[in-house]
């Protein structure tokens, strides 16, 4: 009884916990404020604000000449293409890898009741799971922009390395998320299938995947929204799209062109957000 209560007290913080958390948060904020040289008074007081205002005023009016306009539109289309193909590549990489990163498909849970693999086979399957997880971690840890640098190094400049960068990083993210979905499916339908004598493959196809599919679509759409923003950034290291044009405009102090390109980013990102919300409502 005493042990139970002690455990409950440890799991649910009492009255002192909010105070402690508040003090910890305050200390964390003070430490970060100091370390990042935050200067809000400087920003809002006279000089800083005037600098920002001058800079913003200098952006106007946006350059709407036919040449800039066409350039921005071409950049937006390229960015859109990079994000779409990159996200599809990510699904193509993440889906098979997620099967490796799902314990319930490899060595434990309902699929293996009564048909337990031998000790050797089980070790091999656990190793397979560990390898799948490690690979996904590797893909996910390396940020898109570092992947982009690697692929630019490999295949040269242009939007193609951007596609590969998004595909590899997002493939790692989706593989992890898909694996979690696969482990979380409701076991009741799987048990029903197993009771009718369905094979493991049958249970996977008719029991697990139909439950997981809506979540897969939802996650893929969510990552597409992340990727349209990332695709606009990758241009920065020479991987095409609006980012490359923005980089040039900033380096050459072409402020009016810059504003046009920022408007193009705003338009394409808002469009993808809306499309994704629409598809989520229709498909999921």
């Amino acid at each position: 009884m005493g042990g139970l209560r002690a455990r409950a007290a440890a799991a649910r913080p009492g009255r002192t916990a909010p105070l402690l958390a508040g003090a910890g948060l305050a200390a964390l904020l003070a430490w970060s404020w100091h370390g990042t040289a935050v200067d809000l008074p400087g920003l809002f007081g006279g000089e800083g604000m005037r600098q920002v205002a001058t800079y913003v005023a200098g952006l106007f009016p946006p350059d709407l000449s036919a040449r800039t306009w066409r350039d921005a539109a071409a950049g937006a289309v390229e960015t859109f293409a990079i994000s779409l193909i990159g996200s599809l590549l990510a699904v193509g990489l993440g889906l098979p890898l997620s099967l490796l990163a799902t314990r319930t498909l490899l060595y434990r849970g309902i699929l293996f009741e009564g048909r337990r693999p031998g000790p050797g086979a089980r070790t091999a399957r656990v190793a397979l799971y560990a390898a799948g997880k490690a690979l996904l971690n590797l893909l996910r840890t390396i940020p898109e922009i570092v992947w982009a640098l690697i692929f630019v190094f490999m295949v040269g400049l242009g939007p193609f390395p951007g596609v590969l960068a998004l595909g590899f990083h997002t493939g790692g993210v989706l593989g992890k998320l898909f694996g979690e979905v696969l482990e979380d499916v409701d076991p009741a339908p799987l048990e029903a299938l197993q009771a009718t004598g369905a094979s493991r493959f049958g249970i996977l196809v008719y029991g697990v995947l139909p439950q997981a599919l809506p979540q897969f679509v939802s996650y893929a759409l969510y990552r597409w929204e992340v990727n349209i923003r990332a695709a606009a950034m990758l241009g920065f290291v020479g991987a095409g799209g609006l980012g490359q044009r923005i980089h040039i405009a900033i380096s050459l102090f072409q402020e009016h062109q810059l504003l046009t390109l920022i408007l193009a980013i705003y338009a394409i990102v808002t469009l993808v957000d809306a499309l994704s919300a629409y598809l989520r409502a229709r498909l999921v």
Partner: protein, 288 residues
């Protein structure tokens, strides 16, 4: 990772014409956009195999080992690593400071619609409620649709190179996302407790404090923590545009072909991201 709230289940049994045509239309449009995008993005897998591509990868991978782990280098990298964490904390703090007021204004049930406003006149609702609501939505949409690195670029121009520009960039971009999600959480609370409080004669502030806040707070905290996890990744990347942190070091080492340093920096980044994930998951477990 936070679960993305999924849309309410659609009525799958309604057999209207548009519903039946949708799968065909969707497949056709989807196939066309993919084919078009493959061309526009100049996708050509052969380029992965031709010329020096594989040789370059081999050079890169060989260069990474052994990673550079001497005390001098690790000592030098401690400062940028700490800075990356600090940028993420301060950036998230500013995002909350921007997201809370804008999110409250962008909540229709607080500003102009629903149980709190049943007794307000029409013009009053329009002028005092709808106008600020629409303005807040517009501001949030601009904040979040412009990616953080573009903000970082502009803040580097405005306040100079260094971590402060990164803090402001994350603060503005994530402030836009937090504000939107806060308003969605507030709009989706159950209206029953609010109606009960109203019927019991509670003031508007009372309804908001005792009806809205307790329902919304756990979700608000969970989502804010999730954004902090994203912010640590973002703050590492912003270094690429001169906004401090680890990214700047990764870029430098990449440009100098010091791949052994790149591997060490990526490992440091992995440890930072993983620790923040664990810490944030722990806190979320307490709150939810």
């Amino acid at each position: 990772m936070a679960r993305i709230p999924s849309a309410p289940p659609a009525d799958r049994f309604r057999a209207s014409g548009s519903r039946r045509r949708f799968p065909y239309l969707f497949t056709a449009v989807f196939a066309a956009s993919v084919l078009f995008s493959l061309r526009a993005a100049q996708v050509d897998p052969r380029r992965l195999l031709e010329g020096d591509a594989l040789g370059n990868v081999a050079k890169f991978v060989r260069g990474m080992f052994p990673p550079r782990l001497d005390g001098e280098f690790l000592g030098l990298m401690a400062r940028p690593a700490i800075e990356t964490v600090q940028i993420s904390v301060m950036g998230t703090a500013i995002a909350v400071a921007l997201g809370v007021p804008l999110g409250l204004l962008a909540t229709s049930s607080l500003t102009w619609r629903g149980v709190l406003h049943e007794r307000t006149s029409r013009t009053g609702r329009w002028l005092l409620g709808f106008a600020p609501y629409a303005a807040a939505r517009a501001v949030l949409s601009v904040f979040r649709a412009i990616p953080e690195y573009v903000w970082a670029f502009m803040f580097v121009r405005a306040v100079g190179l260094g971590p402060f520009a990164g803090v402001l960039a994350i603060g503005v971009a994530y402030g836009g996302m937090l504000g939107k999600v806060y308003s969605e959480i507030l709009e989706n609370v159950s209206p029953r407790p609010l109606e009960t409080l109203r019927a019991a004669g509670a003031s508007r502030l009372g309804v908001a404090l005792y009806g809205l806040v307790p329902q919304a707070l756990p979700n608000v905290i969970a989502y804010t923590l999730y954004r902090w996890e994203c912010a640590i990744r973002a703050s590492a990347i912003l270094g690429f545009v001169g906004a401090g942190g680890l990214g700047q070091q990764i870029e430098l080492s990449m440009r100098m072909f010091q791949f052994d340093e790149v591997l060490t920096l990526l490992a440091i980044l992995f440890v930072l991201v993983a620790s923040v994930d664990v810490l944030s998951g722990r806190i979320r477990g307490w709150v939810a």
